[in-house]
């Protein structure tokens, strides 16, 4: 039986009493039943733990939405050096959910990592945290020390056969290091350039060994799955988007912040009900459903349920669960230019379509603002986006091409009006009449 779904979860999982003082310390976390899931998991065979993860239907919370249990099952069996890497780079604009989790409940992540490592028979693990999160890194480092002293990390955890070493690694500020293979290169001490796939990290990742990479929120959910059982967890949310999700709502809303919702909740309820909607007198103009890399959606799309499939069907994606709301006071070209400049700055430069495409997109948008463009430039912008997509090693270029393409397609009239306005201001005279 499927639960009602689609509402604000009455019982929070990840955010349950998250502001309790001292939750970042081991005694408080343990007093609330922390590390009980680990004990339960260690009493089960590895295969059974993996089965719980598969049964839960948990999909990756970092952006791609790939089934976590399936990813873990791809790792080859047998004795070899295998690695678990927690992606805590969280640099997708609009996303700040992992920050709150790591800052307030670091042991939840550590427990999830130990259980996930047990399920996939992994003995070495890393947390790659973005360099800007200095406080969170210090909190995590202290929590790891506590966990190690209490015997949750290290050799023969709680007298079981399972051993796990956990190292916290601080990055130094690069969006591309949130891409899994760029992250691996960075973790190996190189520039964070993405790698050609295949081979996929599950076969050849960190130090050429099989590597499981998961987002912070995904791993922090694991203890809850073990506690309630995979099948029970799958009753939350919708058929294909199970469980709860942390949603970061930001931009032109009255109450920006992180909210834990059950997947499938109507998007309108998140934007208006939880985050308060735009300031009085303002309307939603468009919104990004999953970080700045997701194609924009219009106000009427707010009626869609917020889950992986509904967002994909609408031509966008759930991504990292970061909803950015833009209200009707903001010109669409400002957002487009901001985005394009961001991706130009963060392109690692390895693949030509992305390196050149992001740069030329910025130049063309600046041309519009300078009053030197004609409506034909919009077609060129759109075609450049088309030529970036799918032509690079990683999806950074696509991450600009998708929202940019959707903005030009959905707000073409506004772009054209802006072009003509600026042409007029630049004294370039009336635009050429368009032949039907």
């Amino acid at each position: 039986m499927r639960g009602p779904g689609g509402g604000v979860v009455s019982q929070k999982l990840l955010f349950d009493r998250i502001d309790d003082p001292g939750l970042n310390t081991l005694p408080v976390y343990e007093a609330r039943g922390g590390y009980e899931s680990l004990k339960r998991a260690l009493a089960m065979p590895r295969e059974a733990v993996l089965q719980e993860l598969l049964d839960s239907g948990l999909r990756g919370r970092g952006g791609a939405g790939f089934a976590m249990g399936k990813k873990a099952s791809f790792l080859p069996k047998g004795t070899m050096d295998k690695y678990l890497v927690c992606n805590a780079d969280e640099s997708e604009p609009g996303t700040f959910k992992d920050r709150e989790l790591m800052q307030k409940s670091p042991h939840m992540l550590i427990e999830g990592m130990i259980v996930a490592a047990y399920a996939a028979d992994i003995n070495r693990s890393f947390i790659y945290i973005r360099g800007e999160y200095q406080q969170q890194a210090a909190i995590l480092e202290a929590a790891i020390e506590e966990a190690r002293a209490a015997g949750y990390l290290g050799e023969r955890i709680l007298d079981s056969e399972h051993s796990l070493d956990l190292v916290l690694h601080r990055g130094a500020g690069a969006y591309i290091c949130g891409e899994e293979t760029g992250l691996l290169d960075s973790l190996e001490g190189k520039r964070g350039n993405p790698r050609l796939k295949p081979p996929f990290p599950a076969n050849q990742g960190l130090y050429q060994g099989p590597t499981l990479i998961n987002n912070v929120e995904t791993l922090a959910t694991v203890p809850h799955i073990i506690a309630m059982g995979g099948a029970e967890y799958a009753k939350l949310g919708t058929e294909t988007s199970t469980g709860t999700k942390l949603v970061s709502v930001s931009g032109n809303v009255q109450r920006p912040g992180n909210y834990e919702i059950e997947l499938g909740m109507p998007s309108r309820e998140i934007v208006y009900g939880l985050a308060g909607g735009p300031e009085p007198g303002r309307e939603v103009k468009f919104w990004f459903p999953g970080g700045s890399s997701s194609p924009v959606l219009l106000p009427e799309d707010l009626d869609l349920p917020y889950d992986f499939d509904a967002m994909a069907k609408a031509g966008s994606m759930l991504g990292s669960g970061a909803i950015i709301v833009v209200d009707d006071s903001v010109p669409v070209i400002d957002v487009a230019l901001k985005l394009a400049k961001f991706y130009r700055h963060e392109s690692c430069g390895k693949c030509t379509p992305c390196r050149e495409g992001t740069n030329w997109t910025v130049k063309m948008l600046e041309r519009i603002d300078a009053g030197e463009a004609t409506p034909m430039d919009l077609d060129i912008i759109a075609s450049v986006q088309q030529q970036i997509m799918g032509n690079c090693l990683c999806v950074l270029g696509d991450a600009m091409a998708m929202p940019l393409g959707s903005m030009v397609a959905k707000f073409r009239g506004e772009f054209e009006a802006h072009i003509e306005l600026r042409r007029g201001q630049a004294g370039l005279g009336a635009p050429v009449e368009v032949l039907a």
Partner: protein, 206 residues
């Protein structure tokens, strides 16, 4: 405004891009420990980092963080010292340092003020805030005011990271306060620090 990238003639971002190669010079090698003095504390820090990884090279970023903390920026001397301990060429570490935004390859002020100017913050006035902070800091060499990409704190937009401490939501008037407090060595905008903020989700408290 995103990060301003200074460009040389011909559009290159790389200093010395048009310098002719000096063919009489020896190839760059791993610095000789006998002739490269490395402060003991820095050496200990880097060696501890190297010991944490199966492959010591993974410590490149931690080593550069440590060297930057000591020298204020990734100066040629800082990189030479890190390279000496890690047994890598300075060129390798320079290549790594230039890739990452937080590793400074030019001398900078000791107070790092990163103002987020990405989309969510700019929708709430980050560009004006960035200008205000720059104006408040003026040409004080102690300040390193930068427009930064999304810092992951859109809930307190517009915001800034002040020596690693996240503060927000900031108003234009906060710019001057922030700079004064930094100059005086005080805690920066204590009531606006992210670490003191409760979760926005009303269900999280029950």
């Amino acid at each position: 405004m995103t990060q301003q990238v200074s460009r040389y003639e011909h559009g290159s971002r790389i200093p010395g891009w048009d310098d002719a190669v000096d063919l009489t010079k020896d190839a760059a090698v791993v610095p000789d420990p006998a002739t490269t003095p490395v402060p003991a504390a820095l050496r200990a820090q880097i060696e501890a980092a190297m010991a944490r990884y199966p492959d010591a090279r993974s410590a490149a970023i931690p080593a550069l963080h440590a060297a930057q903390e000591l020298h204020g920026w990734c100066s040629p001397e800082a990189i030479e010292q890190a390279a000496c301990v890690m047994r890598l060429t300075p060129a390798y570490l320079t290549a790594v340092a230039t890739f990452y935004d937080m590793l400074e390859t030019k001398p900078v002020g000791r107070h790092a003020v990163y103002v987020c100017t990405n989309i969510s913050c700019s929708l709430r006035g980050a560009d004006a805030l960035y200008d205000a902070v720059r104006e408040a800091a003026g040409d004080d060499p102690d300040f390193n005011v930068r427009a930064f990409e999304c810092l992951g704190a859109c809930d307190i937009a517009p915001m800034a990271s002040v020596n690693g401490e996240y503060v927000g939501p900031l108003e234009l008037a906060d710019a001057a306060t922030l700079v004064e407090q930094l100059r005086a060595g005080d805690e920066v905008l204590p009531e606006k620090q992210l670490s003191r903020r409760a979760c926005a989700d009303p269900g999280a408290a029950s």
